[in-house]
Symmetry: C2
Subunit: 387 residues, 2 copies
């Protein structure tokens, strides 16, 4: 049997020597991108070297056809079992998806399909990611937004008052996008059980942070009311994009998502997309396997340490944090938030802003090292002088 390379060269000729011009052009576009070492506001990061190596090995795989990519499918089952263990549910089911938005869509879609209300609604914290607005539009559900307490956690009594007979799910966030705060999932779980509705936890960011912190908050399946969890390896798991994760308490939720697949090697499909790469599965596995619990703990501790360094530097510059950082996300109050952000962007440094309260926001990912923070702070000093 011929090798892939031989098969291609037979058809396309020996391509390896003629690619330089196109690759030079691509390099030019790539050089216009801002390097991660100047980005302090992304929840993604440079993939781990093991993630890249694993990614390459699985480059042509397609989990949309698990009868062909049988080994890749076995590996996915293994990855889901690993994530299930981290989330205190060895029987959890699910799959590696395109990212947090798909995870949130599928969690809520399963809830909607199980409860079948004509004018259904979901209750989400005001702090929920904007993907829940997509979910509402897509699934035709009313999105009710519950207020927050002074620590920017969702107000449990407000959630309770917004739930009615048409509510199919409530949502709790474990690691809010703006502040890295964790909602009171324990209390939300009790509401979900009492009302007989689903609780979806958006732990896209926090799912691979909280379990590795000291005295982790119980945000996961250990709460009986939690039905589904979004947990993204391509954020703090340092896997290659796309590697989101959606896990469900049991098979019942997958059944609620299935459509029939007449011409594939499988009979039904519960994923949102059809064709989907196995690269995220392989890169997630490689990183988790390589680092293990202690390795992930080391990464999270390092990020938390750097978050404290950034906090101290910012306090020295006269800034006040919106809340004491819970994880490696921190925001500082300032009326000049947009101006600071825009001036930094002109200098090719990327931070972001939040609106309530007006603040500048940072995510201290593994690429935001002590050196990066020092460079950033000295640029910020310059910016503050001219504003």
């Amino acid at each position: 049997m011929k090798s892939i390379k031989e098969m291609f060269e037979e058809q396309y000729g020996n391509t390896s020597t003629r690619s330089s011009e196109i690759m030079e052009e691509l390099k030019k576009y790539r050089s216009i991108d801002i390097s991660y070492s100047r980005v302090l506001s992304s929840m993604c990061t440079i993939p781990h070297p093991y993630a890249i190596e694993a990614h390459l090995m699985f480059l042509e795989t397609n989990l949309g056809n698990p009868g062909i990519f049988r080994g890749t499918k076995m590996l996915e089952d293994k990855v889901i079992a690993m994530l299930g263990k981290i989330l205190h549910n060895e029987n959890a089911v699910g799959y590696i998806c395109s990212g947090g938005t798909e995870g949130n869509i599928q969690g809520i879609r399963a809830a909607r399909n199980i409860h079948r209300k004509r004018d259904g609604n979901i209750v989400v914290p005001k702090s929920a990611h904007f993907s829940f607005d997509k979910v509402g539009d897509l699934l035709r559900l009313e999105v009710r937004k519950a207020g927050l307490d002074e620590e920017y956690r969702v107000d449990v009594s407000d959630v309770e008052s917004l739930v009615d007979e048409n509510t199919v799910a409530i949502v709790g966030i474990a690691g809010t996008t703006e502040l890295g705060q964790i909602d009171p999932i324990v209390e939300l779980s009790e509401i979900a059980i009492e009302k007989g509705i689903e609780l979806h936890v958006d732990a896209a960011f926090g799912g691979l942070v909280i379990p590795f912190m000291d005295n982790p908050y119980p945000f996961d399946f250990q709460n009986e009311g939690v039905s589904s969890i979004t947990i993204d390896p391509h954020k703090m798991g340092m896997a290659t994009i796309p590697a989101g994760g959606i896990l469900f308490r049991d098979e019942r939720y997958l059944r609620a998502l299935e459509v029939k697949t007449p011409y594939l090697t499988s009979k039904a499909q519960y994923t949102l997309t059809g064709t989907r790469p196995g690269t995220g599965v392989a890169s997630t596995y490689a990183v988790l396997k390589k680092l293990g619990f202690e390795g992930m703990q080391r990464i999270v501790r390092e990020c938390m340490k750097n978050t404290r360094i950034l906090l101290e530097e910012m306090v020295n510059l006269g800034f006040e944090p919106v809340i004491e950082p819970v994880m490696n996300v921190v925001a500082f109050k300032t009326d000049k938030a947009e101006k600071i952000r825009d001036e930094l962007y002109k200098r090719e440094w990327v931070i972001s802003t939040i609106r309530e309260p007006k603040a500048i926001r940072f995510v201290v990912m593994p690429h935001v090292t002590e050196d990066v923070i020092k460079d950033f702070i000295s640029e910020l000093r310059e910016v503050l002088k001219v504003l």
Copy 2:
């Protein structure tokens, strides 16, 4: 500024020498996958060598944050312009998405959001891909299935009779999954204009086949009624997965999909996913730029030639095609379809089946070379002896 490698080694140590054990394990799983050289039923293929090279260069990019990945975003605009040109609309807008399912979701979602009917419906051919069942469930639209003529094209008068005041869109397929047939898009376009509704064309497969055939059928934006087109570079475009494409006639459709994005470098987002890789953009660009119109024509001609070879070999074995192949998809009637498929699968050859009429189905992708066909036919001879 430190290199990425240096930054990682500072935190994780020199990882390059310790990866062997995990990579050996991954290789084992990968070896359980069936090689593309034994797969005659997939609409994906081995990525083009240029696609792989481009993919690697853009591995860490995230188009969910176009203010950071500015160059990658510029490249995406260029790719959309190239695809727009191929589809006879230089003003087309859109983006590179996760695949055909996302393209179909977004095409229909835009139509639904523009027409806003409480109990909306869409009319699709019976031959439509199962992703339209997902679309119906997801978007809460009734999916009405129109019958086919004897050539397995959608019956235009049946479409017309199914359209009512609640119809938001009709769908035409340019390259059906089962038979590679092309619906009468010209006539569907007239219906769409007359009824004032949208026409979405699913050319996930055919979009990068038909334009390179002799006397191509006019399936695209040259028909005034066509609102949106799904066209997947990771199928016949030989790009790396994920690289789907969704193009719209004009900006109005993107506006119907937007949600606000408070903490990103952009202000609104019309994509289905948030975080999304730039690898598909780069690999699509590299392949189209390298091959050009003539190169794509050569690939398509080669696939059509091999389709004829497979057809002749199958006819010699006593099989009859369901229709004369229109593109590089061909199916053969047999009551033993499932048995043949299952027996071949035991021998690690992958084909698929269709149900109406009972038939075995082949997709002659670039990796299905004359040699692959010869090997396959001799295995099939053996299989037919034992059945």
